[in-house]
Symmetry: D3
Subunit: 307 residues, 6 copies
C-alpha cells in the first residue's frame, strides 16, 4: 500500500517524514485543530470546517497563523488528490488539521501547520459502529466538569483535551463502549467527550447552548434538517433529569455522523432504537451526504467491505 | 558545537533525530511534563521533581506510563553525562520531560516519553533577568481565570496550557516584560502563567493554596528557607486587594528561581527592589544551590559570560 | 363521618390502617410524590400529573417502581369512588401519591406506594384563601437558596423538602401569612416554597426557567390560557429587581390555583389586587376547571359552606 | 426470637406496632436522624451523638422538638435494656433516632420521635466487611455534587438523602461493592455517601473541611487517636488529584468504624492494604472501643458467629 | 457666560449654590442616578429615562423618594428652560438626576434629589469622538468582574460604581483611549464600564442579557431600529470567543450614542470601520434623533464649533 | 452650642461651610472612608485606622490621593483640638474620613478629602445600646449576598454600600432593632451590614475569614484580647448551621464596640446574655480603652448623661 502524503509546513511529504520537533509548542502548550471528512471521496462542508478552524485560531492570537481560508481549502484538495489512490472506493477520509505556535526556543519560529488524512472509522471498528447504529450505544455521565469559557472556551477546537480524556476514562469505568456525557460547572449538560449531544422530547430536538460546547458542523446540519422537517430545534439548559426522561437521545460528530443512545446511566430508553426522529435524521443525513453510513458500516463490518 | 543528545522512547539520540509523529496524542490532546535544572551542572532536587512528574501521571491514568522513579533518575543522569561537553562552565541546563499516550490510530501504541536539555535561561535574556533581579519586574493581572480542579487540576503539571497563554497575552498587552497573575473563578490569586506567586505582608510570607496552583519545587524550597529564618509561611485565599498592599511580591519557578516584583498593575511598591525579605530569600536560595544566580545573570549579560 | 379509604401497597384500606414501618426508606432518605386534585369531584389533568410522577421516578432509578401510568390512573379513580361519600358537594379532594424504595434492612423489599385523599384547602383556611384571592398575599424572599440541579434537580417532585421549609420559616419571620420566594445560587428567582412564581411586566407573563423549578401543571395550564389570550409567556432569568418593578405577581399550585401577590418584601404593588391580567387568568382558569374557586372560597369561609 | 422494643412518641412498644401515619411530615418533607451504636453492648460516645442530634434539630427550628439531651439518653438506655435479651453476646446494636414535625393536616401535631435498634452490620454482610477490612474496598467518584450549605447544610444529619443515593447509584454502576465519593460544587472532596473520607499523605492525615461534610463522631475519634499518635490531622480542600496520589485512604462511620480503600476510580494504591497508618488507627480504634471489629467480622463471617 | 441653574431639593438655584452636606447618604453609601440628553435642545426619550429612574428607586426601598414621574418631567423641562440661554445652537445637554436617602444623623431627613445639566460631550473631546466615529475605538477586557444581581442588580442605575472604575483603570493600562469590557462571574460578557455592548455576527445583532447589564435606552432604541431593518436582535450569553470572531462590535450609551469598535484586545477586526450594519445603525439613529452626531463631532472638533 | 470644625480639602472650616459640589465623584461613583473614635476624648488605635484608610486607597489607584499617614494623623489631632469645647466630658467623638476622585467634568480636579466629627452613639440611642449590652440584640440573616472580592473587595472600606443597605432593609423587615447578617455567594457567613461577626463555640472564638469582610480594628483588638486570655481565635468558613448552634454570638465595630446577640433568626440562645466569654471580652475591652462603655450607655440613657 502506498504511503499517504500530508501537507506539512509548506510541503507535501510522506506522513512518515512529517515529524514534529520535540520542542514544538504543540507539545508544550497545545494548539488548534480541525477535522473534516469526505463522503464518497468528496469533502463535506469543507468551507464551514475551515471557517471554524480560522475562528478557533482568532481566539488564540498568540498563534501567528497567516494562511487564508482559500489557501487551506486548496491545500486540502491537493492532499486529497495526492492520496486518492490510497483510498478504496467504499472508504472515506477524515482530514485532520493542526496548528501550533511553532518551535519553542526558536525566536524566528513560524507556526507549525499540517494537514493529513486518516481512514474512517477510527476509534471504533466498522462492526462496533454498525451495532451502535442498529441498537444504540450506552451513555454515561462523568464527574469531571467541562472547562468554563472564562478559562478556555469550548467553542475553540483546541488540543487541550485532558479533561475530556479524564471524563472518558470515568465513563469507560462503567462500560468500555460507553459514550461520555459532560456537565458544566452549573450541572447543565455540555457535550460528549468527542461529540455533541442532542435529545428528543415531545417531538422537539433539544441540545446544549453554545456556551458549553463546540459549534459542531454535524450539529448545525441537523439543525437544517430539522428545519426542513418542521421540527423545533431548541438550545437549552438541559439537566440529567431531562435525559432520564428523554424520548430519544443521540450523539453526533463528523466521523460517526449520528449515533443513537440506547441507555443513559444504565437506564434503557424503553423504546426500539433508533427512535423515530433519530431514524429520520439518520436517513435524511445519509441522503444529504449521499452516503448511507448505516448500511455501509454494516457491510464493511461483515467482511464484504474494507478492501 | 556538538549536538545535544536526548532520551527518546528508550534510546539516546541526537535531538534533531528525535521527532514526534504527527498523530502523537501529545499533539492531539496533551500530556504531562516536568522541568528540572542544574546548578553548576548538578541537578537540583531531582528526586522531588521526578516524584512530581509521577504524581502528575497518576492523575491521568489513561497514560499507561511504566518507568519507575529510579529509572527516570538514571536516564536523567545519563542524558546529562552525554551532554556534559555541550555545556560551558558558567552555564546550566534546564531538563525537560514529556510523556503522552503515544500515537493515535496505533492500537499497540506505548506512551511517548522523552527527556532533553535546554540551555538556561530561556524565554528571557541574561540581561533581562539581571534587570529583573536588580530592579524587579512588572506584574499584571489577567482576565482569563485559572481552570477549576473539578475540570483539570492545576496540581497536575500538564501541557494543556492555552489558558495560561491567553492570560500571558493579556498581561503583555500592558507591558511586554510583564509577568502574568491569574485569579481563580472565585477571584482568589492562583499563580503566575509560568510561576508561583508569593508576597510579604507584616514580615510574613503568603502564597495561594495548592488547590489553585502547581506544587512548585522552588515554592517548597522557599518554605524550607522561611522555616530556617523563622519566617511564617502562610497558604491563604489572597485577593488583589492584598497585592495592592503587599510589602513585597515575588514570582518563582525552576528556571528563574526568584524574581522580585516592582509594580503590580502599574502601581509601584514604593520601596527599593528587591525588598528586604525577598533579598534575604534570594541570597539564601543562592547559597542553598551553591550558585549566586543574580551575580551570574549580571556577568553573563555584560558579555563576560555565555562564551 | 365515614373514614376515608386509601390505596396502600396493593390494597384499599382505611387510612388509619395504612401505616408506614419505622424503617421505611421514605423516612430514611425520602422518595417521590405527586399531588392532583378534583374540581367538582372530577380529577383535573390527571394524566399530566401521573406522567410527571413517573418522570420524577425515572430520575431516581434506585426506586424500582413498576406500575404503569394506566394502573396508577385506575387506582386513582378507584380511590375517588370509594371516598365519594366522604365528600360534600361543595368540597374537593387533593389526591396525594408517595413512593419510596420500601423498607430498609429488608433485602426483598418492594417499593412503598400509596395514594390518599385530603380535603381541600389545607395549609390555609377558606377564609384566608378568600382574603388572598380578593386582596392578594404578601411575598417575601428567603436567604436559603434553591438546591442546584447538579445536586438534586428541582424538576423532580421529591420529598426532600427541608430547604423549602427553612426558606418558608424565614419568610414567615416577616409575616406569618407570607408566601416564600426562593432564589437559585446565581440569585435568579427559582420558585415559591410550595408554588410556582409568575409575574406580569409590560403586558407579558414572565416565569423562571425550568432549570430552577418544578414543571407545575398549573403553570403549564396558565401557559395555555396565555396562548389563547395572545399573551406572551416568557421563561427568563428573573432577579428581585424585576419583582420590585413587576406590574403584577402571582403564585400558583394545584391546591390554591392562582394567588395574587399584594406586596413583595413589604413594598405594595400600588394597584388594585388582583391586577388585570391576574384577574383574567383567575377567571379563565375557573372556567377551564368549571369551578369559580374564588367565589367558592368566599362562600365556604362565610360559613355557608363546609357543611 | 423475641421482638424488639422501640421507643415511639412516648411509649415503649414492639417495633411492628410502631407505625408512622401516611401524612407524617417525615414522609412529606423529611426530618432529622442520628445513629449511635454499642460495642460489647455498651453505647459508644452516646452523649456526643445525642448532642449532634440536638444540634441538627436546632438548625431546623420548624421542628418543635422539646426533649432534653438527658431524657434522650435515658430513653436510649431503657430501649437497650428492654432489648438486651434479643442480642447475642457477639453482636451489637445500631441505635437509630428520628424526629419529624409530626403529622401534616393535624394542627395540634407534636413532633414524631422514635428510637429503635438494628442488628449490626447492615448494608453489608459480615463476610463483605471482613474482606474490606483485610483487602480494602473500592472507591468511585460520582458526578452528583454535594448540596451547598447555603441550601441545606451537610452538618445537619437529616433524612433528605436522595442526592447521596443518586451518587451511590452512580458509583455502583462501576462496581457494586464500591464506596461513593462526592465532591462539592467547587470540586473539593466532600464525603462518602454514608461515610466520612480520610487520606494519608506524607505521614499526615487529611480530611475535608466541615463546610462540606457531617461532623462524624468516628472522624472526631480518629482526630483524637491521631493526636495521641502525634500524627498531624489536617482539614483541607482536597481534590481528586490528591486522591490519585494518596498514600492511604479510608472511609469511616459509626457502623463500619474504619474501612481501608484499596483502589480509587479503578486505580489500585499499589501498597498492601490496609496501609500502615490505617492499620494503626484500626487497631487503636478497636482498643478504644474494646472491640476488635476486624477479627469479629472475620469470625462472624466464617459461620462461628451470628448464632 | 451665565451660570447654569439646577433643581436642588425643591428649588431652582445656581449650580455653585447647590452643595451637598458632608454627611449626605449619597457620600456615605451611594444612591440612584439617571442621565438623559437633548438632541437639538429637545430631550430624547425623556419619559423612558424617568421611568427607569423610578424603577431603580423601587429596587432600593430605603430611599423614601416620593416625586411622581410627571413631576420629574416638569422639573426637567423647567431646568432646560432656565438654562436655554447657556446653550449654543450646535450644543446639547446631558441632564443628570441623583437621589439619595438624604442626610445621615438627621432623623427627619428627606431624600436629597437634584437635576443638573452638563454640556456634551464629556469624558471625551469632540475630536476624540470624531475619531472614534470614523475609525472606531479599542476595546479591552478587564479582570474585574461585574457584580452579581444577588448582591446589587446591574439593572439598577446606581452610584456604586467603584468596580466599573477599577475595570476601566485596567483597560486603560493597555490603551488610554480604550473602552472597557466587563465579564460576569461566569465569564459571560456583561457590559462596558459606561456603555452597553453589541456585536454583529452573520448579519444579526447580539447583546448580553439584561441579567448582566443596564437596560440601556440607546440599546432599546437600537432594538427598535433593528426591527425596522428586519435585523434579528438577540440577547445571548456571549463569551470573549464570540468577540474575537465578531463581524462588527459597538458600544452605546446616552451621551456617545453609538461608537464602533476597531479592535478587541489589540486584535483589529480587519474590516473598514464602522462596519456596514454599525454604519447603518449610526445613520438611522442620527435620523431618529434628528441629529447627525458623527458630522457634528467632526465639525465641532475642527474648531468651527464649540462657540 | 458652638459649631464643629472639620477639615475640608486643606482648610479647617465650620461643618456647615464644607459643602460638596453636586458633581463630586463621591456622589457619582463613590470613594473611600474611614471611621475612628475617641474614648475619653483620646483617639483609639488612630494609626491602625489611618493605615487601613491608606490601604483602602491603594486598592483604588484611580483616586490620586497624596497625603501621608503622618499628615492625616496631624490633621485628625487638629480637628479634635478645635472641637474639644464642643464635647461634654462624658461624650466621645466618632471621626469620619472620606476621599473621592474630586469633581467630575473638572480636568484639573484634585481628590476631595475631609475629616469631621460626629457625636457618639449614632444610629442608636444610648437607651437602645444599653439594652443591647444588657440583654443582647437580635440578628437576622439577609437574602442579599456579600459582593465577591473579584468585583469589589470587602477589605476596602468604601462608600459603595447599597448592598449592605438592602441586606439591612431585609433584616429590619423581621425586627426593626435587628442587626443584619450577610452571607457570601458560597453561603459562608461574611459580616454584619455595619459590623464584624464573631461567635463562641466550645470555648473558642470563631469569625469569618478576611476574604469576606472588613479587617475590623475592633475585631483585631478582640484577637489580641483573646490571645491574652489564652482563648483560641479562629478564622473559618462559618455557615448558618454554626450560628444556630453557637454558644455565644456578638457583633463588633468601632462605634458600638461589642454588642452581644440574644437570638438568631428568632431562635434565642437559651443562656443569660451576654454569655460568659462575651462578657469577659466586653469587660477587657472596656479596660483596654479605659472606658466602661456598658455603664456609660446605661448612665447616659437614664438621663444623667447627654449634658
Amino acid at each position: 500500500m502506498r504511503e499517504r502524503i500530508c501537507y506539512f509546513n509548506g510541503d507535501y511529504v510522506k506522513e512518515s517524514e512529517a515529524k514534529i520537533l520535540i520542542s514544538d509548542w504543540g507539545l508544550v502548550e497545545g494548539g488548534v485543530y480541525e477535522l473534516t471528512r469526505t463522503f464518497n471521496h468528496i469533502p463535506f462542508k469543507l468551507k464551514e470546517h475551515i471557517h471554524r478552524f480560522i475562528r478557533s485560531l482568532r481566539c488564540l492570537p498568540f498563534i501567528k497563523f497567516n494562511l487564508t481560508q482559500e489557501e487551506i481549502l486548496d491545500i486540502t484538495m491537493e492532499v486529497l488528490n495526492r492520496n486518492e489512490t490510497c483510498l478504496d472506493q467504499k472508504e472515506d477520509w477524515a482530514i485532520i488539521y493542526r496548528a501550533t505556535r511553532g518551535v519553542q526556543f526558536d525566536p524566528s519560529a513560524r507556526p507549525t501547520f499540517y494537514i493529513h488524512t486518516v481512514l474512517l472509522p477510527y476509534g471504533f471498528s466498522h462492526a462496533q459502529l454498525a451495532k451502535f447504529y442498529a441498537q444504540g450505544a450506552p451513555l454515561v455521565v462523568a464527574s469531571t466538569r467541562q472547562i468554563s469559557p472564562q478559562c478556555l472556551d469550548p467553542k475553540i477546537k483546541h488540543t487541550n483535551r485532558l479533561s475530556y480524556n479524564m471524563a472518558e476514562y470515568e465513563a469507560k469505568m462503567v462500560d468500555p463502549e460507553a459514550f461520555t456525557l459532560m456537565l458544566d460547572q452549573n450541572g447543565f449538560v455540555a457535550e460528549g467527550a468527542r461529540e455533541n449531544f442532542l435529545m428528543v422530547s415531545g417531538g422537539k430536538l433539544f441540545t446544549p447552548k453554545l456556551m458549553d460546547c463546540l459549534e459542531g458542523v454535524t450539529r448545525a446540519t441537523i439543525f437544517e434538517l430539522a428545519r426542513e422537517m418542521k421540527t423545533e430545534f431548541i438550545e437549552a439548559d438541559l439537566t440529567i433529569a431531562n435525559l432520564y426522561n428523554a424520548d430519544e437521545m443521540m450523539v453526533t460528530n463528523t466521523s460517526v455522523c449520528i449515533v443513537p443512545i440506547s441507555k443513559f446511566n444504565n437506564q434503557p430508553l424503553g423504546i426500539p432504537i433508533p427512535g423515530p426522529l433519530t431514524k429520520k435524521l439518520m436517513s435524511a443525513f445519509g441522503k444529504l451526504v449521499n452516503c448511507d453510513f448505516v448500511e455501509r458500516a454494516l457491510k464493511l463490518s461483515s467482511g464484504s467491505g474494507g478492501k
